[in-house]
Each structure stands twice: as structure tokens, then as C-alpha cells.
């Protein structure tokens, strides 16, 4: 640590602020993009009234969220009811802090990274924090004291716990090849070949599990609106609902970032031009890849139907987990043979 | 810089609070939670010793304790569910079919 503590904290705070701002804006526009794209898939127009092409729609939504009345159900467990959305959003935001999006640059004369916290077991940190996200959902459903919320949260909780296993196992293959849990080193190790090629099976497992982990279609059983109202956040309104909403989209961004880092070579891509461009091109490639995943999310939502709950569980436990285990085994055997 | 004894005393306190919880709590789930707290106290002691001794085995012990705790939790909660199914209560004082 060559950097003085004061500077370190200052730089970290600046990065946090930027990340928060970018992320919140991004989430708002992902939502707009989702509505637009799904509308096009379904031959509709989508939001087009607020601003040109509906560009100010997110702002309008935000105002609406803030101005709506806060409703707390009379029979709710007040404290837990209040805590649940906060847990969700905090966990989602903390997870993103270890995601690197580019190389190294200089700030105030000190070298620093395109990343809030550069820790050497970033992937483990991510998995750890993501495993806490389930509390938000479970507590939300239980504390609302409503049967739809309750069933939604039970479904969501068990789904997340189940698919977390497959998600973690899918990441082990690439980690074994890279020999590190440091996200930067994993990216560095992919300078020759992106891990999507040797670890294609793991990539597919990861992608599937990630959809389930973020409770998105086709695995959005926790909030299957046809059956359960809005699932675990049925009883939430206004800002508290917005927090769940925010958490869901931030989680989407996080898992997309991890997919990019671990399977798609992170910020690797053709780099050329003047130094300033060389600095920012990797970031651009990274964002492009993440954008692709986000588009995939929306695309899938527009096209695929929802799984049935028992199919979801059977698929996770009887297919994905054994497949992921086999993948770990095969990766290990191949690695030891090649050594 | 902190003496090792601080960590160990914290671990002892956690352990003892767990022991107290085991005796005070009336519902079986909370009793089980107290046992988990005791195990956490032990884990802290293991890691502290591991640090002081510069020996990696303490870390490994914690790993194994977690494995054991996971298996224990699965079975323990299953037992609790079976009991509640049979008895419709969580209160440990109602577990008195057989005289103690």
C-alpha cells in the first residue's frame, strides 16, 4: 500500500459516488429499454409520451415512486417489513463494488483501478454477498403477513438457495483454469482464450442459474403475477417497492458483469489509438459485453414462457447441479492430464 | 495491535451466551440457534489461535466445523419439523411425554 490512507478513502468515495450514479441511471434506462424491446417483440410501441421516444419516462417513474403513499399493512412485522427492502438493495449494491471494469489509470498521481475495491478473492466475495440477498426476499414475504407474499418468498428463497449451488459450481471450472479467485487475474488469464470456449457447459449452466438467481423470466416464479399477485413484494409500495425493483436490476447487472469477467474475457478486445483511447476502449468493450447480456435478459423475457415450479426445482437439482459437478470433475481431469 | 486474549475472551463470551441461551430459551428453534452461537464462538477461538501460532490448521478446523454444522442443521431442523408435526408445539417444556 503505497497510497496514504486519506487519499485512499477519498478515491474510494469518489469511485463509489460515480458507480452509484452510473448504476442508478443505468438501471432506470435498462427498465426503459426493456419496455421498449419487449414492446417491439410484441409488435407494440412501448412508452413514447414522456420526452422524445419516451426518454424521460424513467424520470417520470422515479417521481411517481417518490410521491406515492407509503402503505404498511396493519398486521406486518414492522421492523422486518422495513428492513427487507433495505437488505435487498444494500446487498445488491455491495456486490457490484468488487467488479472491475477495466485496467489501471492514475488519479491524483496515484495508480488506481476501474473498480471500487480490488480484493484478491473477489469472486468469493461476490458469491458471499449474493448469498445474503435471499434474506431480503424471505423477510419481505414473511413480514408482510399476506399469503401471496409468503408463498412468493418461499418460492423465491428456495429457488435462490437451490440455484446458487449450480451458479457457484459453474464458476469453479474457470477458477480452476485461471488458478485464482481474483477477478482481475481471471480476466488476465483470458488474454489468449475466453473461457466461454473451454468452459462452454459451465457458461450455459451459469447463465441459466443466473436467470433463476435474479428471479427473471423464465424463472420468475416468486412473482408469478398470474398466481401470486406480485409475489414477495405484493404488499410493498412507493419507495420500498422501488428498492426491490432497483435491487433486481442491479443484480441483473452484477451477474452480467460476472459472466463477462469469467467467461467473455472481461475487458479484452481490440485496443488501439492514442493512450486516452487505449485506456477507455477496454471499458467500452466491457460495457458492450455486459450490454449484450442485459439485452439477452430482455430478449428472453419477451420470448420464453414461465416454468412450472416443480419443473424449476427438478431442473435445478436433477439436471443443473449434477451437470455442474460433472463439469468440475472433467475440468479437473483435463487440467491434471495437461499438466 | 491487540492481545490475543481479547479475541479469546470475546469467543468465550459468545460461547457462554450460547450456553445461557441453551438453558433459557423455551422454544426448540431458539435453543438450536444458541448451539450455533456456541459453535461460532469456538470458530473464533480456532481462527485466533491459528493466527497466533502461524499455523494453517486452525483455519481448516473452522472449515470442518462449518461442514459439521451444516449437516447438523439439516438433521436438527428435520427433527424439529418431525416433532412439531407429531406434537403441534415448539415449547421444550411440553416435550414431557416421558418423565424426566
Amino acid at each position: 500500500m503505497s497510497m496514504p490512507t486519506g487519499i485512499f478513502i477519498l478515491i474510494s468515495l469518489i469511485k463509489c459516488a460515480i458507480a452509484l450514479f452510473v448504476l442508478l441511471t443505468l438501471v432506470a434506462y435498462i427498465q426503459l429499454a426493456e419496455r421498449k424491446i419487449v414492446a417491439h417483440i410484441q409488435s407494440r410501441v412501448g412508452p413514447n409520451r414522456v420526452g422524445p421516444y419516451g426518454f424521460l419516462q424513467p424520470a417520470a417513474d422515479a417521481i411517481k415512486f417518490i410521491l406515492k403513499e407509503e402503505v404498511t399493512p396493519a398486521a406486518a412485522h414492522k421492523l422486518l417489513y422495513l428492513m427487507a427492502p433495505m437488505i435487498s438493495v444494500v446487498v445488491a449494491l455491495v456486490a457490484i463494488s468488487v467488479v472491475p471494469i477495466g485496467g489501471t489509470f492514475h488519479l491524483f498521481g496515484y495508480p488506481t483501478q476501474f473498480q471500487i475495491a480490488d480484493i484478491n478473492i473477489g469472486l468469493l466475495f461476490l458469491l458471499g454477498v449474493m448469498s445474503l440477498g435471499v434474506y431480503g426476499i424471505v423477510l419481505a414475504g414473511w413480514s408482510s403477513n399476506s399469503k401471496y407474499s409468503f408463498l412468493g418468498s418461499l418460492r423465491g428463497g428456495s429457488q435462490m438457495v437451490s440455484y446458487e449451488l449450480a451458479l457457484g459450481l459453474a464458476l469453479i471450472g474457470p477458477v480452476m483454469i485461471a488458478g485464482s479467485l481474483d477477478l482481475r487475474q481471471i480476466v488476465q488469464a483470458q488474454s489468449h482464450i475466453w473461457y466461454i470456449i473451454p468452459e462452454f457447459v459451465a457458461f450455459c449452466i451459469y447463465l441459466t442459474a443466473a436467470f433463476a438467481e435474479t428471479n427473471r423470466i423464465p424463472f420468475d416464479l416468486p412473482e408469478a403475477e398470474g398466481e401470486l399477485g406480485a409475489g414477495y413484494h405484493t404488499e410493498y409500495s412507493s419507495m420500498k417497492f422501488a428498492m426491490f425493483f432497483l435491487a433486481e436490476y442491479v443484480n441483473m447487472v452484477t451477474v452480467s458483469c460476472v459472466a463477462t469477467l469469467v467467461f467473455l474475457g472481461g475487458w479484452h478486445g481490440p485496443v488501439f489509438g492514442p493512450p486516452q483511447l487505449q485506456l477507455w476502449l477496454p471499458v467500452f468493450w466491457f460495457c458492450l459485453k455486459v450490454g449484450f447480456f442485459l439485452f439477452l435478459y430482455i430478449w428472453v423475457r419477451g420470448t420464453l414462457p414461465r416454468f412450472r415450479y416443480d419443473q424449476l426445482m427438478a431442473f435445478g437439482w436433477k439436471f443443473l447441479v449434477p451437470l455442474a459437478l460433472a463439469n468440475v470433475l472433467i475440468t479437473g481431469v483435463v487440467l491434471s492430464v495437461m499438466k | 495491535m491487540i492481545p490475543l486474549s481479547y479475541y479469546l475472551i470475546l469467543s468465550a463470551i459468545l460461547f457462554c451466551i450460547g450456553v445461557a441461551g441453551f438453558f433459557f430459551k423455551r422454544d426448540i428453534v431458539s435453543i438450536f440457534i444458541s448451539i450455533e452461537l456456541m459453535l461460532n464462538g469456538v470458530n473464533l477461538a480456532f481462527v485466533a489461535f491459528s493466527h497466533a501460532l502461524h499455523s494453517i490448521s486452525g483455519n481448516l478446523f473452522v472449515f470442518f466445523v462449518m461442514v459439521v454444522a451444516a449437516a447438523e442443521a439439516a438433521v436438527g431442523l428435520a427433527i424439529i419439523i418431525a416433532v412439531v408435526r407429531a406434537r403441534q408445539t415448539l415449547n421444550v417444556d411440553r416435550m414431557d411425554l416421558m418423565k424426566l
Binding site: - | L39, G41, V67, A82, A86, R87, V92
Partner: protein
């Protein structure tokens, strides 16, 4: 890469066989036709436990350490492996009768039995505390589940719950003890601990005190497992509520294994502080004997009575334990071997008479059975006589060696208390015999058939009890040799 040489596998062969057959049982349970699964499972489990029993001979032929000095095959290990796996064979045979009677026959039961045995055998062979802890947990967790196996019977689940909560509580103490040993000596390998406790690395002169505290904590944990007073509270309830063959199993396998690690930990690792923990053992021995026997006098439920009697027997074992020498160890070993045979035999008869839903487990139900079912009643009487310590039974020599070891160590007071207690114990054992032969039945209990499995159980247990009672020398010599070997 000679990380795992071939002889390591020979040294853990019984465990491998048991675990392998346990896994096969799970596979059978998953596939196959529903009707026959349980029966097939029973035969597979029987085969597995018999093969494991045979594997102990192979294990015995390959003495030495395995897996980075975590596991050690010596006479001590082999002796307890025979006792424990033998108990498992008997319990499997017993369950082949019991489970169909209760309409509960499923392969998982046998799988858990075998896995539990894996835990116990690993336990007695391990010379490393974390390994001991893990195998202790394997054996405990499978026993918790087995105790609650009749899960629709409130008593069974309640018994399982009490066993589980108190057992985990005790395990936490045991674990804290391990942590302290690790902190004081920097190792958890028992023989290294013994060496390191002479030249401690942490805390200078305080290391002795830390080790003593560790010993006390481990004593609490293991005291629970062997149901020694004052940690015996769970025993009667758990023994009463658990299915009868499981109770027999619990009173034999886990108890023998827990005593085995008790011996190893205290005699080997904590040898240097022996003068201090001697008093813990002393007090626990007296408490267990007196409390167990007096409470047993008041029971009418046979399972509860045997539970209290098993507390008392733990007390006798602790008497030998307090002798602090190789004679003490060999006496403990011999006593446990005899105790396992007679106690499982007694529980076998109890489970034989228990009938559906365990209706007949009161001493009154046994009135007049002596003439209606002469063979089981005779065997039960024999086991009870052996538990009293009548000559020509294994129990006699067991007690004799225990008392001799205690007297050799000049523990006269303790020996006197133990002898008085043995006399007291005769009352409640004899009461059952009186009911068997001298009372008229109030209600005719249904006739359980004498199946082949049950006959085998009876033959095996009677044979061992008589053998140990008539020709004790070979076993005792083996025990003495292993004791000396273990202490080296």
C-alpha cells in the same frame, strides 16, 4: 505421488466396506421394486457388516499410521472395531425382525446404521482431534436420526429431539476443548499433543492450566456421550423413546466408541495433567453408579430401567478409568466388550417382546413369560445375571478386572462404593427374572415368532457372554497388550 500408499487403504478397510455398502443401500432404496426393497436392504446391510467384520482381520494385519498420522491401526483400534462392528451385525439381525413388525422396513435405516458404524470405527482409530470430532459427529447424527426413526410416534421424535439438542450441546463443549488443546500446544494430533504438553509453545507456564480446562470441557462433551452422571439427563428418555434395536445399538456402539476416544484422549494426550482430571473421573464414577442404580430401582419400564442401568455401568467403567494405568485400560476394554454383548442381548429380547408400536415394555408385561417363551426368557435371564456380575458370565470377569484395577491403584473407597452398587443393582435385575418365572400374567401377550435372525442374535450374544465368562484370558491378554501398545 505416494500421497496415499496402498496400505493406507488396508488400514481403513472396514470403514471403506461399511461406507461402500451404505452407499449401495441408498442406491437400492432409490431403485428396485417397492415391496422388496426393505428386505433386500436388510440382507445387503448384513452382508456389508459381516464383510466389514472380516475386514478388521485384514486391518489388524496392517498395523501402523495412515493419512498423515491421523489414523492409527493398533491393538486398541482393532479391539474396538471388533466390538463395534460385531454390535452392528447383531443390530442389523435384530432389525430384520423388528422393522417388519413395526411396518417400518426401509433401506435408509440400514444405511444410517452402517454410516453410524463408519463414524464409530473411524473414531476409535483416529489419533487426531478434528478427525475424532468429525467421526463423532457422523456417529451422533446418524444415531439422532435413528432414535427418531418411528417418526409418527411422538415419543420417538421427542427422544430424537432431546438426544439431538443435548448431544449437539455436548459436542460444542468438546469442540471448545479441542480449540484449547490446539491453542496450548499448536497441534491436535494426540501423540504430538502429549509431546508438546511437556514443552508448550504458547503461554509459558499457563499451558498446563489451559490443557486442564480443555480436559474439563472435553470431559463434559464425552461425559454426555457415554451418559456418565451428571451429564446423563438425556439417557432414560432417549432410550425409552427410541426404537428398541436402536436403543440396543446406542447403548453399545456409540458408547464403546466414546469410551475408546475418552481413553485415548485422556491417557495419551492429556497424560501430563492426569493428577488433575483424575478427580473429575472419580466424582463422575461415584455419581453415575449411585444415581443410575437408585433410579433404576424405581423404574417399571424395562427400557428405562436398562437406561439407568447403563448409566450405572458407565460408572463402573469410569472406576477402571480412574485407575490411571495400563491395567485400567485393559479392564475398561474387557468390561466394554462384555457389556456390549450382554446389553445388546437384553435389548434384543426386549425388542422381541415389544410387539407392534412397542406396547409391551413394562415389567408387568413380562409376568409369566418364562414358561410360555422359554428360550428368549432364559436368554434374558442370562443377560441380566451377567449384568449383575454372576460368575460364569462375561459380566463377572468384567467387574472383577475393574475392581482389581481400582484396587491396584489403591482406590479402596471407590471400589467399595462400586461393590455396594453392584449388590444394589442385583435387586432390579432380579425383579425382572422374578416376574419372568414367578408371576401370573394379567394379559396374555401375543406370541412373537422365533425367527432365524432372532435365534442368531441370541446365539451370538449368549456365546460371547459365556465365552468371556469362561475363557476370559485370551481377550484380556489381547486387551493388556493393546493397552501397553497404545500408551507407548
Amino acid at each position: 505421488m505416494s500421497l496415499v500408499p496402498a496400505e493406507f487403504y488396508w488400514r481403513i478397510l472396514p470403514e471403506l466396506v461399511l461406507a461402500g455398502f451404505g452407499a449401495v443401500l441408498m442406491l437400492i432404496e432409490g431403485g428396485g421394486r417397492a415391496g422388496n426393497r426393505g428386505r433386500l436392504g436388510a440382507y445387503v446391510a448384513l452382508l456389508g457388516s459381516l464383510l466389514a467384520f472380516g475386514a478388521v482381520f485384514i486391518q489388524a494385519a496392517n498395523p501402523g499410521d495412515a493419512f498423515q498420522h491421523m489414523f492409527r491401526v493398533d491393538g486398541f483400534t482393532v479391539f474396538f472395531d471388533f466390538v463395534i462392528i460385531g454390535a452392528t451385525v447383531v443390530v442389523v439381525l435384530l432389525s430384520m425382525d423388528y422393522l417388519p413388525t413395526q411396518h417400518l422396513e426401509r433401506g435408509e435405516f440400514y444405511a444410517l446404521l452402517l454410516f453410524g458404524t463408519v463414524g464409530m470405527t473411524f473414531m476409535v482409530g483416529s489419533v487426531e482431534l478434528i478427525m475424532i470430532f468429525i467421526s463423532l459427529e457422523i456417529s451422533s447424527i446418524s444415531t439422532y436420526v435413528l432414535a427418531g426413526y418411528r417418526r409418527h410416534a411422538p415419543r420417538s421424535t421427542e427422544s430424537s429431539l432431546k438426544y439431538f439438542l443435548l448431544g449437539s450441546f455436548a459436542t460444542a463443549f468438546f469442540l471448545y476443548g479441542i480449540a484449547l488443546v490446539y491453542g496450548a500446544t499448536g497441534t491436535t494430533q494426540l501423540y504430538d499433543v502429549a509431546r508438546a504438553s511437556l514443552t508448550p509453545i504458547v503461554g509459558g507456564g499457563e499451558a498446563d492450566r489451559v490443557l486442564l480446562l480443555a480436559g474439563a470441557l472435553m470431559f463434559i462433551g464425552l461425559g454426555f456421550k457415554v451418559s456418565a452422571a451428571p451429564f446423563q439427563v438425556w439417557t432414560p428418555d432417549v432410550y425409552e423413546g427410541a426404537p428398541a434395536p436402536v436403543t440396543g445399538f446406542m447403548s453399545a456402539g456409540p458408547k464403546a466408541a466414546a469410551f475408546a476416544i475418552f481413553l485415548r484422549i485422556f491417557y495419551v494426550a492429556l497424560h501430563s495433567s492426569g493428577h488433575a482430571w483424575f478427580w473429575m473421573v472419580y466424582v463422575a464414577a461415584i455419581l453415575s453408579m449411585c444415581l443410575g442404580n437408585i433410579a433404576a430401582l424405581l423404574q417399571t419400564n424395562i427400557k428405562r430401567m436398562l437406561a439407568y442401568s447403563s448409566i450405572a455401568h458407565a460408572g463402573y467403567v469410569l472406576v477402571a478409568f480412574a485407575a490411571l494405568g495400563p491395567e485400567g485400560i485393559s479392564a475398561v476394554m474387557f468390561y466394554l466388550a462384555a457389556y456390549v454383548a450382554m446389553n445388546i442381548g437384553a435389548f434384543a429380547v426386549v425388542s422381541h417382546f415389544a410387539h407392534r408400536e412397542e406396547r409391551y415394555v413394562d415389567v408387568k408385561d413380562y409376568a409369566g413369560l418364562g414358561f410360555r417363551f422359554p428360550v428368549p426368557a432364559f436368554c434374558l435371564s442370562l443377560f441380566l445375571f451377567s449384568l449383575i456380575g454372576v460368575p460364569l458370565t462375561g459380566g463377572f470377569f468384567g467387574k472383577l478386572y475393574v475392581f482389581r484395577a481400582a484396587l491396584d491403584a489403591h482406590l479402596v473407597g471407590l471400589t467399595v462404593i462400586a461393590v455396594l452398587n453392584s449388590a444394589l443393582a442385583a435387586f432390579y435385575y432380579l425383579r425382572v427374572v422374578v416376574f419372568l418365572y414367578m408371576r401370573q400374567p394379567a394379559e396374555e401377550i401375543a406370541a412373537p415368532p422365533m425367527t432365524g435372525a432372532f435365534s442368531l442374535v441370541m446365539i451370538a450374544c449368549v456365546a460371547v457372554v459365556i465365552w468371556l465368562g469362561v475363557f476370559p484370558n485370551r481377550v484380556l491378554e489381547f486387551a493388556s497388550r493393546s493397552a501397553a501398545q497404545m500408551l507407548r
